[in-house]
Amino acid sequence: MVSTYSLKVYVEVMAVFTPEGRLIPKTITWEDGRVYQIDRVTDVRRACSLKAGGTGLRYTCVISGKTTHLFYEDDNKWFVERKTASV
């Protein structure tokens, strides 16, 4: 049985535009309402996510010492890859 459990999670993001016009995400709100502060963005590049299924600007974010990818799609939605496939 193919699971319909999606590995692509659209999230709410708070972001700022810098005076130079760069878009930097600051917080991610997870499905359950928890808010995560993004300490640092270490890399931004266009990349696809085969796991979640999609493409966009990929922000490599450091959150509480852990690295996670946050994607900004061309339709202005943000998504992250769900960590585990098990329900």
Binding site: T4, R46, C48, L50, G53, G54, T55, D74
Partner: protein, 415 residues
């Protein structure tokens, strides 16, 4: 100095975009096709596992299921594919501004200028190929050559996800043994004529006296001979982004089969209204009207007609469509789906040659009448105003004309 031309072709484009977004479809035979619930949808694109099982573009969904019972179908999401098409172009734009799209999943790039800066054509091709896979999550095959025809043959040569060069010193070995029908513009009828001359390969065309080819194929014979020998010098045409819309068309699979001319006329009017209204919305007029017809068996055809004057007038589009239909359909079977398309678009500023019989004042009135109808419909809804003919069959006139924003390949020689 030789030009450096790339031809980039996204592999199984619609299917690849779907597989990226829906991981569960990646390793199973699947195809993108008209609404599987509706009758008589067709396969638009199949992925490789499905193709290996014999599924082909244009097959009815039921036929595809016959050759591959476990195939999964998914409905097309054109807006998503067009977004990917735009992202591809954006990436090509990092290498050159000389980009000529051919359909929404193919493009020629003239990188002669940037070849010095970014390395030679082959290196750029490999970089594009890798970046598209990593950044967009789909794959392309890229051909590299010194002319557009060979570059295209290069992108066809090895699929998926590959780069093939077709340089001067290579093309005889790689291209000449290919079947003649691989060459752009060798369709079934040209292929038959060539076979009669004993020519089955591209090399065969190249090594035949061009005068003999012209004798049998007309002007096209000479052109094909030049193509086969690598003498194609046609430029990569730079286009502005608006020109991406090549034609505007609407088609429909009707709620019941069309049985007679009256039925057809009604539907053609409904479709023509929608085409004309979309032409106006985009500031275009068309110089060619095209119809496509599919009967309830396997027979289908498209026919075009060049207009004396460009138009966005419902009545002119519909009457030309109807004339095309009368000339080309002999009613061996009822009709299942039908489409109208306006092509060779010109902007509203384009001025036509006035002909002896054209009546500019009458046309202006027609135009104003259409505009008034469009305006009423904008304000009061589509069915607030209807043509008399549409009251003859409620079901047929309430069909939902399917907007098909296929970006059509332009003719190779432009217009």
């Amino acid at each position: 100095m030789d030009r450096v031309i790339l031809h980039s072709d996204a592999n199984c484009f619609y299917a690849s975009v779907e597989m990226l977004h829906r991981p569960e479809l990646r390793n199973v035979p699947m195809a993108v096709g008209g609404d599987p619930a509706a009758r008589h949808g067709i396969v638009l694109t199949a992925n490789y596992p499905a193709k290996r099982r014999g599924v082909k573009t244009g097959m009815a969904l039921w036929q595809a299921r016959e050759v591959c019972p476990e195939i999964q179908f998914t409905s097309p999401r054109m807006d998503l594919y067009l977004r990917f098409s735009a992202m591809l172009r954006e990436m090509y734009g990092e290498y050159t501004d000389r980009i000529e799209p051919f359909g929404c999943d193919e493009a020629w790039l003239d990188v002669t200028e940037s070849a010095d800066l970014k390395g030679d054509g082959e290196k750029i091709a490999h970089e594009l190929n890798r970046r598209i896979r990593e950044e967009l999550g789909i794959t392309v095959s890229v051909g590299v050559s010194y002319n557009k025809i060979f570059a295209k043959l290069g992108s066809d040569y090895k699929k998926p996800d590959a780069v093939t060069t077709m340089y001067r010193e290579e093309f005889k070995g790689k291209i000449w043994r290919l079947p003649a029908s691989d060459l752009l513009y060798v369709g079934p009828s040209t292929k038959r004529k060539l076979l009669k001359l004993g020519i089955g390969t591209i090399g065969g065309i190249a090594e035949t006296d061009p005068r003999i080819l012209e004798q049998h194929l007309g002007k096209m014979g000479g052109i094909l001979w030049a193509f086969a020998n690598g003498y194609d010098t046609s430029p990569v045409r730079v286009e502005n982004t608006h020109a991406v819309i090549k034609s505007i068309g609407n088609s429909v699979t009707t709620p019941r089969d069309l049985l007679n001319e009256e039925d057809v006329k009604l539907v053609l009017y409904v479709l023509s209204e929608s085409v004309a209204s979309r032409l106006k919305k985009n500031g275009f007029r068309c110089r060619v009207v095209e119809i496509s017809v599919r009967d309830n068996g396997l027979f289908s055809f498209t026919r075009q007609k060049k207009l004396e004057q460009s138009t966005d007038i419902v009545r002119e589009i519909a009457e030309n469509a109807m004339a095309l239909f009368r000339e080309n359909y002999s009613w061996k079977a009822p009709i299942r789906s039908i489409g109208v398309r306006g092509a060779e678009l010109v902007t509203a500023e384009f001025s036509d040659q006035l002909s002896l019989f054209s009546d500019p004042e009458y046309r202006r009135k027609q135009h104003r009448a259409d505009e008034a109808v469009d305006d009423l419909r904008r304000r009061f809804g589509f069915y607030s105003v209807q043509r008399g003919i549409m009251l003859t069959d409620g079901a047929l006139s309430h069909i939902d004309a399917e907007e098909d924003h296929t970006v059509h390949p332009q003719g190779y020689f432009g217009q």
